[in-house]
């Protein structure tokens, strides 16, 4: 019989608690789980027969190529894609590639040789493709030079394939593992001398290769941050004031005195309280029973209704700025033969990562460490340093692959700050803090709420002569990064409606075009939510475009095409979606199509949805075809996975909201906040149409066309546009 020790009984003294809880968690029986254990992952030079050829490539004697990755993995497949890019230039055996993460401390110590570790904005691949490919190419050149030196032949006479170097003239061959040590001693080639392959010639990159990180996700052995076990570890559950901006006033510790396994109550900063125990469930149960008094502050007076009224004011106020003001849109619309006007709105949404916020922090007199799921390990390290007061050189952050990120675990690092505050009370002991789902829903940095007023004018021939878009809503920058607002103009909230090319450009040319933003902030925290502002703006523009097309008596696709002559890339992707989505072809009775296109993260995307709506308001989405031009397609299988995932995530835009009552979030778990489920998902087809002349993102863009394509199909089915979300407010439900 396996016997594991439990935490000790109630009424433990502090000292006993410390001793007793070390045994809890089954660590003694099963061994501690220590990712990034003793050896620093990214040691320089040659260690244990493993040779670092350069920062990106370590070769083992058995020819295994360890490819270092600095970006975070949260399921999006970046690690495999980056390895493909390195391996493509390295010319190693793909079957012998393994991944190794680096830490921000190592990156700092080595003068940021791995560059930016932040993973957001769909830039894992597009933001690092050049230097990781150069890293692979440089390693290959050094390995070949080492073989040439050994054989005393010109390097130009050598060939390499799958990590085997051959000198055909003399019939000699060797492998990377054999020459790595000599290669590491050579001077790295001048980056300017490195010629990268033409992507059209790729053999490893560009292929739908299987992911390198699947095996331990199907047998339960992958260690997420929430699974971490360290010797002597304590567990913390935390509750922050449910009203944003509120403070912790008091709590009555006596009510949980003597609770089994509970070691202490810790006020966290000025707005939260944590219970620390020898297991998390005990900490959480005691926290549930702890009477807490909050100073809720002025935010408690706010509700969804007060926020909506505040935003509505911004639709007509005089404080907006025009980011685009071509011609005279208001006058052109006023004088048009036909005028169309609509007000749209989208709610706050939560990220709801499956793995809730958590981290483990250990602080001693001269060292601070954090283990966390982070989209920005360097931000985690910096937060650890500032919160603990220890210099960066005495801090280290160990980033574990995340159970979902979606923008929640990037720059804010609120959970690390909390973890430090708790761990400071237990010097030398690791403390793992885990949020409940309810805490995670209650204290997100939500997708910002906004409303949008759109006006259009058509001439006698049904041509669009003027378009006026006014967005009123909360600003992410105002909440998280005020320095990004230049001259009072926060262009970020108009993402996807920008005229400047290259990232998130509007795809239509309208002679009289005005695009404005009125900032209307609330007390609710907001932040980047996978896709950030293109999601809301695509709903506004693309759904309204269908309303205008209908008013013009034109087919929605044809109507768009007439406005897109100056935007051939937008148009090509729209056409690709229309072609593969059978636009214009017959459908079964009751099934209707909707279409949408947009641009974000440097990529062009479009979607066609087939939808039916029953008399009871049941919306069935039968099929979606989604096209993307991301420039270069590094792994088509991963792109398809991201597109499929984008449809599911895009369902949030349709069926969810975080509403506010008495200043706090209402939807605190998955009974009231409903992520998409399998039965709701349509058959999804991914169209990949790369043009090989730019690098665009993949993880986020497609979400933004999902909701408008479906909404436009609903409009086609019912004849009524859906202008405010979620659907449930209109008696509609996705089945």
């Amino acid at each position: 019989m396996n016997r594991t020790k439990s935490g000790r009984s109630a009424n433990i003294s502090r000292r006993k608690f410390i001793v007793g809880s070390a045994a809890a968690g089954g660590g003694l029986a099963l061994g501690f789980n220590l990712p990034f254990a003793v050896e620093p992952a990214a040691a320089q030079g040659t260690a244990g027969g493993n040779t670092e050829v350069n920062a990106w490539v370590v070769v083992k004697p058995d020819d295994t190529c360890v490819i270092r990755v600095a970006r975070s993995e949260m399921g999006q497949g970046t690690h495999t894609g980056l390895a493909q890019l390195v391996a493509e230039e390295l010319e190693c055996d793909w079957g012998k590639v393994v991944l190794e993460p680096v830490t921000p401390g190592q990156n700092l110590a080595r003068k940021r040789v791995w560059r930016d570790m932040a993973t957001g904005g769909s830039r894992g691949i597009r933001g690092s493709h050049d230097y990781v490919r150069q890293g692979g190419a440089a390693a290959r050149m050094m390995l070949l030079q080492a073989a040439a030196n050994q054989w005393n032949v010109p390097v130009g006479e050598l060939t390499v394939a799958n990590g085997v170097i051959t000198h055909a003239a003399s019939g000699r061959s060797t492998s990377y593992g054999k020459v790595a040590a000599a290669a590491a001693k050579l001077t790295a080639p001048d980056p300017k001398s490195i010629k990268l392959k033409d992507p059209r010639q790729w053999r490893v990159a560009g292929k739908p290769l299987k992911r390198l990180d699947t095996a331990n996700k199907v047998n339960g052995t992958k260690v997420y941050s929430i699974d971490l076990k360290l010797p002597d570890m304590l567990h913390a559950a935390i509750k922050a004031c449910p009203v944003y901006g509120g403070k912790l006033k008091s709590y009555d510790e006596s009510k949980i005195a003597g609770w089994r396994g509970v070691g202490g109550v810790v006020p966290v900063r000025d707005d939260a309280v944590a219970v620390v125990a020898n297991t998390w469930w005990r900490a959480k149960s005691a926290l549930d029973a702890l009477p807490i008094v909050w100073d809720e502050g002025p935010g408690a007076k706010q509700s969804s209704a007060t926020i909506a009224a505040h935003l509505k004011d911004g639709l007509t106020s005089s404080d907006a700025f025009a980011d685009t003001n071509d011609g005279d849109a208001p006058q052109a619309i006023a004088g048009a033969a036909k005028k169309i006007e609509a007000v749209y709105s989208t709610p706050f949404l939560s990220h709801s990562t499956m793995e809730p916020m958590n981290c483990t922090v250990r602080i001693t007199a001269n060292k601070a460490e954090v283990w966390m799921p982070s989209q920005n390990a360097e931000a985690s390290l910096a937060t650890l340093s500032s919160a603990s007061g220890l210099p960066l050189a005495q801090c280290e952050a160990y980033n574990l692959d995340q159970g979902g990120g979606f923008g929640r675990r990037g720059g804010t690092q609120d959970f690390v700050r909390q973890g430090v505050a708790i761990a400071q009370r237990y010097p030398g002991r690791p403390v793992k803090m885990v949020w409940t789902r309810e805490e995670d829903q209650a204290h997100d940095f939500y997708r910002p709420i906004s409303q949008c007023k759109l006006s259009a004018g058509l001439d006698q021939g049904g041509n669009l002569v003027g378009l006026h878009i006014r967005v009123s809503g909360q600003s992410i920058n105002a909440y998280l990064a005020p320095h990004n607002i230049k001259g009072g103009r926060d262009v970020r909230q108009l993402q996807g409606l920008w005229k400047s090319p290259g990232d998130a450009q509007i795809g239509y040319t309208v002679p009289n075009l005005m695009i404005e933003y009125a900032m209307r902030n609330t007390h609710v925290p907001v932040g980047p939510w996978r896709g950030v502002n293109i999601n809301q703006n695509a709903v506004y523009l693309e759904c309204f475009m269908d309303e205008v097309a209908r008013a013009a008596g034109r087919d929605p696709l044809e109507f768009r095409r007439t406005l897109m002559k100056n935007h051939p890339k937008h148009l090509a992707v729209l056409n690709a979606a229309a072609e593969k989505g059978d636009w214009g072809k017959p459908l079964p009775a009751g099934v209707h199509r909707g279409i949408a296109q947009f641009m974000g993260y440097g990529s062009y995307i479009a979607a066609v949805a087939e939808v039916s709506v029953s008399g009871k308001g049941e919306v069935k989405i039968h099929r979606m075809v989604l096209a993307t031009n991301c420039g270069h397609a590094v792994n088509p299988a991963t792109i398809a996975a991201q597109v499929e995932g984008s449809v599911a995530y895009g369902f949030d835009s349709l069926q969810n909201e975080i509403s506010i009552r008495n200043g706090r979030a209402v939807e605190l778990n998955f009974d009231t906040y409903q992520p998409a489920r399998l039965y709701q998902l349509p058959k999804i087809e991914t169209v990949i149409a790369p043009t090989y002349d730019f690098w665009g993102g993949v993880g986020e863009p497609t979400i933004c066309v999902t909701a408008p394509a479906i909404l436009n199909a609903i409009y086609a089915a019912t004849g009524k546009p859906v202008r405010t979300l979620p659907l449930k407010n209109h008696g509609l439900k996705i089945v």
Binding site: G26, G120, T214, R260, M354, R492, L678, T691, F694
Partner: protein
Amino acid sequence: MRLNVNGKAYEVDVEPKMPLLWALREFIGLTGTKYGCGIEQCGACSVHINGAVRRSCSVPVGDVKPGDRIVTIEGLSPDSSHPVQKAWAELDVPQCGYCQSGQIMAAAALLATNPQPTDTEIDKAMTNICRCGTYQRIRAAVHMAAGTGKGGSGSIIHMMTGAAASPVAPAEGKKPEREEVH
């Protein structure tokens, strides 16, 4: 309290109201079973009890009988060789992977009672939440594990590489004037 998990007997000294999920994770050390919601909505904590799938976040340890056979993801097979695990790996179903233990346990329980489920039956049985949206591959992998030959590879990909490069986008390597950075 005695628990039979993956064929082994464990003695755990815990409160009877402690959910099985936390006894598994914190006392027996099996962390493949995940916490997602705590209210049996998401299914990340799915395990088998006497062959039936149960959401362990809402099963108090006190309700588990000593003879009840509990199987977690770690015990589904010794070497990831269960047909569901093999199909999951073959089709690269997981993205972040956090919910996949529960998805696999739900699929294995479905196939144990219904070896060749239809799409409708899969819809009804597979109610676990996957926030990454791996559903299409999940469906295909269930079909693959069932050996029905339906579902294909999960993803349906149309490659359209014929489109010519156009000069509209900024040249390669040139940063756009504006971009979203977060």
